[in-house]
């Protein structure tokens, strides 16, 4: 479950969002500049709200009134950025293992294999990120986030940097992820078609305000 009720001023722009969702995939929809990334960064703890609360899976990670702000590294979230952000000095296998090591989790070969198979990245393991295509990079980034065993996965326009052909190549993996990985997701996109395929619930943002909230039919 995710509960968000925050206010944040960023220069001239003000963000005021409030919603509660039990959805498996919450689609955060809006034009660029609507505040989607700022909102996701706040859920991740990379940005601090001026006022309000954020509750992930029953744990209050932000509560300005009570002075609570759990730092990003203790939120147990996974974050897939538009630009993948793989560590250039590590190969794919080391990138995938990074979150497990940082969280001091015991190795889980079954889970490891499941994620690698799910994303079809087995043949990339000893490559460096510089030698991957955009689509491959994004799949590795997904795997890396999943293998840190997050309780919530944040995806900020994960297909945004890819061309149309590559998008169609990655989309099926995201659908499989939704159906098999069993991790709730917040999926940010300005592409209604993408969200129609993936999201179970939609939060529509316009100029920093939630304008509608509900099933995918609010997209029409």
């Amino acid at each position: 479950m995710l509960r968000v009720d925050i206010e944040k001023k960023l220069g001239e722009f003000s963000l005021h969002a409030s919603f509660t969702s039990e959805g498996r995939v919450i689609g955060l929809f809006g034009a660029s500049g609507a505040g989607k990334t700022s909102l996701v960064n706040m859920i991740a703890g990379l940005l601090r709200p001026d006022r309000g609360t954020i509750v992930i899976d029953g744990e209050t990670v932000d509560d300005t009134a009570a002075g609570i702000h759990v730092p990003t590294y203790r939120r147990r979230i996974g974050y897939v950025f538009q630009d993948a952000r793989l560590f250039p000095h590590l190969n794919v296998a080391q990138n995938l293992d990074y979150g497990r090591q940082m969280n001091r989790l015991a190795p889980d070969p079954a889970q490891h294999k499941r994620v690698i198979d799910l994303l079809d990245i087995g043949m990339l393991l000893d490559r460096r990120p510089g030698k991957l295509s955009g689509g491959e990079r994004q799949r590795v980034a997904l795997g890396r986030a999943l293998l840190s065993r997050p309780r919530l996965l944040l995806l900020d326009e994960p297909l945004g940097a890819l061309d149309e052909g590559r998008k169609l190549e990655i989309l099926p993996y995201l659908v499989r992820l939704r159906d098999e990985a069993n991790v709730p997701m917040v999926y940010v996109s300005h592409d209604a078609a993408e969200l129609r395929q993936l999201a179970t619930q939609i939060v529509m943002l316009k100029q920093g305000r939630v304008t509608s909230f509900g099933g995918v039919k609010v997209l029409t």
Binding site: Y73, G78, F81, L86, Y98, M102, S148
Partner: protein, 231 residues
Amino acid sequence: MFEISPAEWTAILLSLRVAVVATLVATPFGIALAWLLARRDFWGKAVLDALVHLPLVLPPVVTGYLLLLSFGRRGLVGGFLADHLGIVFSFRWTGAALACGVMAFPLLVRPMRLSIEAIDRRLEQAAETLGAAPWKVFFTVTLPLALPGVLAGMVLGFAKAIGEFGATITFVSNIPGETQTISSAIYSLIQTPDGDAAAGRLVIVSIVLALGALIAAEWFARRATARLHGN
């Protein structure tokens, strides 16, 4: 003709020891300072930055004299260290290492700072979302990505330390076997009537060491670029 005498070897080995110790001790301080200057904004940052670069522009004899005043046996810091920790700098090779370390510090810090500034901070954010506490981010992402710059700084610092003359001779004098480095040995030799051949040999050794260090620094810089592009 090119036969290095035992006395010259003593000077060469002493120079190497002084420069290695100076570089190794200065490196952790250099990394910490480079990070501070690259990443933090604080009151007095400009002053600190200027202070680090001071040995570069100050006459070396002034730096040496200031070291003598503060780290000498009767100096405030030197007296304290000698009485409480048994560390003596004046007229010892350790003092030469201190002088070389201070003189080399600006050159050592600069490439480290530049390489930390060049790191994409979004990679550090990504590490944090994967559960890495700030100090772990530093050791698993920041430092490895800055490593070529760190090594380049060490090489440059080493090259400077091994050639240092003014501050060293002012602070710890020119005692064969204790504080007589290659530079001070050359200085003594060219003042003796038939020291030219020996001085010449040490000059060649200096040139070889300096060139080697510069080539190594260049090589590390190229590795840094390749590393940041993920190849």
